[in-house]
Structure formats: C-alpha cells, structure tokens
Symmetry: C2
Subunit: 254 residues, 2 copies
C-alpha cells in the first residue's frame, strides 16, 4: 500500500474568548459536525486560539512604556506600548528596522516582534496585543491529556505559529509547542537506498507537520484554527520543542 | 464541507539514471500501480531524481581543486574536490565551520554545501557528488508541460530539497523550483475574522507545500521521491521561485 496522509480541518470552531476550555470547544465542534479524532492523529492548533484561551491578550492602553521601549519604538516605527511588550517577551534584541524587531524570544525562538500579533484580535475595546502562550509545550501536553480524557484517543498535539525566515520571503507554519511526537527526527544511521548510512542529519519533523497544517488553516476569514494530520506513525516522545532550537554555539548568524 | 487535503505517494518509482525521462518514469509507475494524476494536483518531486535525470552527478575524481578550494577544504574538513564543486555552484561563501560551508547558491538560495549531496548517489564508481538542477524552475515547467501532454492534466510542479534553517535544528522540505502555483501568497488586504485588513504579510506557500510533501517522502530506504498534494485551489501563476528569495536589501543577517 502506498503511503498517504490526510489533512482535515476540524469544522465549526467558534471565536475563542479568554478562559475558554479548548477541549470543551473541540468537543462541541465535533459533536456539531460529526468530526472524530482517531488514535495517531496529530492535532495542530493555531497559537492564536491557545493564547486567547490562556488570557494572553493585553490591552495596549494598559501598558506603561519604559525609556528603552520609547527609544526602540522610534527606530522600529511601532507604538512604545507594543515595544514594551515585545521587550518583556524577549531575551535579546537582534535587529531593528522600521516595522520589524527581530528578537530571541524568552522561549528560545528567533522571530519578529516576539510573535506578538494584533491582527486577529477583537479590537472593539482598543488595540489589543496577543502574546505567545506562557509555556506552549505545557499547553500542548494539557491539550493532549484533555483530548485523551474526553475522546479516549492517543493523539499528538502541536501548537503552531506563522514565522518568517532569515533568507526566504513569507512566513511558514512552524511548531512552537509539541507533545506526543519527536520535534526533531534523527535520520542518521538509517540506511539509504544503497544500504549505506545516510549522511544527512536531522529532520525538522514538527516544523514540517506545522507547515502542512498551516496550508489547511489559512490565515483569514476562513477561520480554521485546528487541523488534523492523519496517517503518520507516531511514537509517544514527549521532549517538547527544545530539540528544534539551535544552540547558541551552533548559531552561525548572530 | 470542511476543507481537506490529501498527500499521496506515487508508488513504484525506480532508481533514476542520468538521461532518464521523468515523465516516462512517472507514466510507467502510474500504469503499474493504477495511480492517476488529477487536475489541480501539486506534484512535488525530490531534487535528487531531477538532478540525476539531468545528469548533474559529478565524479569527485574528475574534479581539479583550485588553491582556494584546498584552503577552504582544510577549514571545512571536506575533500578539496567537493569544495571546488561547492564554490563553482556559489556566488558567495557566507560561513565556514568543520563540516559545513554556508553559501549563497548561484540560484539565490542560502544553504549548506551548495545543496550538493553525496548520500543517496550510487557510489560504485567512486565518490559522486550530485549538484542541484541547472535551472529548477525550468525543470518544473518542463515536467508540468510533460505531465499535461502525457496525462491531459493541469497540475503544478514543485521541485523540493531538504534545507536547514538559521535558527532551528533539522532540515525541512523547501521549494527550489516551481511551476503552476504562486511561490509566495500575498495575504495582505484580505479581511481577517473581524473584517479588518490582515496585518500579516506573505505566506511562503510553495515552502509549506514542500514541507508537507517531504513528510510523505521520507529520506531513506522507503524511496518515495514523488508526492502529490491534492485539494488545493490553484491559479496558474508561473513566476517561479524568485518571489521566495529575500532581496539582499531586506536581509538582516549577513
């Protein structure tokens, strides 16, 4: 049998509010639509709804900008309050140009504007910034456990965000939290087509799954924040996202 | 109807030899297995078999290393002949550490070792290096045209390779040539969930598809060099890979 994978949207996910229980929301959506999770599914969840459910939205008007944020904001052409939030989420500022502040996020990711998003948040009460989850690996573990309890299935959970690249235009779906599958797959030592050990190194497995899920999710009015990848063979590794982070000593470009 | 995508392997692709016609090979594999291409399919093809069919394999013993290659080879702990090939494929050397030479490839990609692979090539006649196709966009266009003629289908074709990232461990499937779909998808201007224009920028569409296809292809003994992504709505853009290349003026990390 030829290998095949399916990417399925979980239909009918409503807008998520602070404090919402995502497992409950998924259960209601499944009941409504007839969608069923299955053992071995990878459930990819958009960072936005995880952050919203975990009350990571911050009203910009509530933020007091430091002197450093005010100076950086002028250079980045952003609001000082937003820059204050970016700094608060970051270990280090790597680059600043108008519109973009590239940072090392406190979670270890190198990304623009600390992954803070103001685009898909309800702004009827003023400008609102949505921060990444406090601990996306922990969020993924909780959701995986919740899905196991609610649906009696053993799935993996990815939390994904759209992240830019140093040398390519455009963002791609990228894993920021993972539970139930290895983020990095070690291919070394497996034989190649001619029986010799492969010389290539590791595969960014969780990132490839995140990119695939992102294809289905779309970014806009469609509103498909949960996608399921079905057909992979999973082990139940639970090392989180750490194996995907390039150690500083192996970073050639800072 | 909830959106869904399928990733399908084209089964039974044999090892590819220099000069082979990939459309013929696909036709034979389809006849054997009953697999059928459909309008709208994205046909993702591993760079390795495109390069092999285009006779881009070079015997290292046939290469004469320059003085510069000899010096760089010592620093990179690679063979001078291989480094000579890497230099010949590159516009600029960005970083050199033991085992890795990061270059700007003549095609504009920033990658390790100019994308030259020695792992999956038949080495019974000595060490052989496999270079990227001369013009992967042209290869994609030819294959797309060939599939249209042979199967009367309108598909898109991606040529994909496994490429590393500046700040993440592991390689991910990445597009190096494209025909029949936009490599970059402009999401700006579309309304978000609340009807306001999206602030996010472009989506690395061809790269997300490449990553998805890579999941199915595996890297080793399975030998699945052609994968089909079914279910996307394609326009027939044919701008090639160029929109995915970050212009030097927008590069913050060299």
């Amino acid at each position: 049998v030829a290998p095949a994978l399916s990417l399925l949207a979980v239909p009918g996910i409503p807008p998520v509010a602070p404090g919402d229980d995502l497992v409950q929301i998924l259960a209601a959506a499944c009941e409504e639509s007839g969608f069923e999770f299955a053992d071995g599914d990878v459930v990819a969840i958009a960072q936005k709804i995880v952050s919203k459910s975990e009350s990571r939205a911050v009203a910009l008007s509530s933020v007091v900008a430091s002197q450093r944020a005010i100076e950086l904001a002028a250079k980045a052409e952003k609001s000082p309050q937003l820059v204050e939030l970016i700094l608060g989420e970051s270990r280090e500022v790597l680059r600043v140009v108008p519109g973009v502040i590239i940072v090392e996020h406190r979670l270890g990711f190198v990304l623009a504007n600390a992954g803070i998003d103001v685009s898909n948040v309800d702004q009827s009460h003023g400008e609102t910034a949505l921060l990444l989850p406090l601990d996306p690996d922990a969020s993924a573990r909780r959701l995986r456990e919740g899905l196991r309890e609610r649906f009696s299935v053993n799935v993996a959970v990815l939390i994904i965000d759209s992240i830019g690249r140093a040398w390519r235009m455009g963002t791609v779906g990228t894993a920021i939290g993972v539970s139930g599958l290895p983020a990095l797959l070690d291919l070394r030592g497996e034989p190649d087509l001619f029986g010799r050990p492969l010389m290539t190194s590791d595969l960014g497995y969780a990132d490839e799954i995140a990119a695939a899920a992102s294809l289905l999710m779309g970014q806009a009015a469609e509103g498909t924040p949960v996608a399921v990848l079905r057909g992979l063979t999973l082990d139940s590794t639970d090392e989180g996202i750490a194996p995907l982070l390039r150690p500083r000593a192996m970073d050639l470009f800072r």
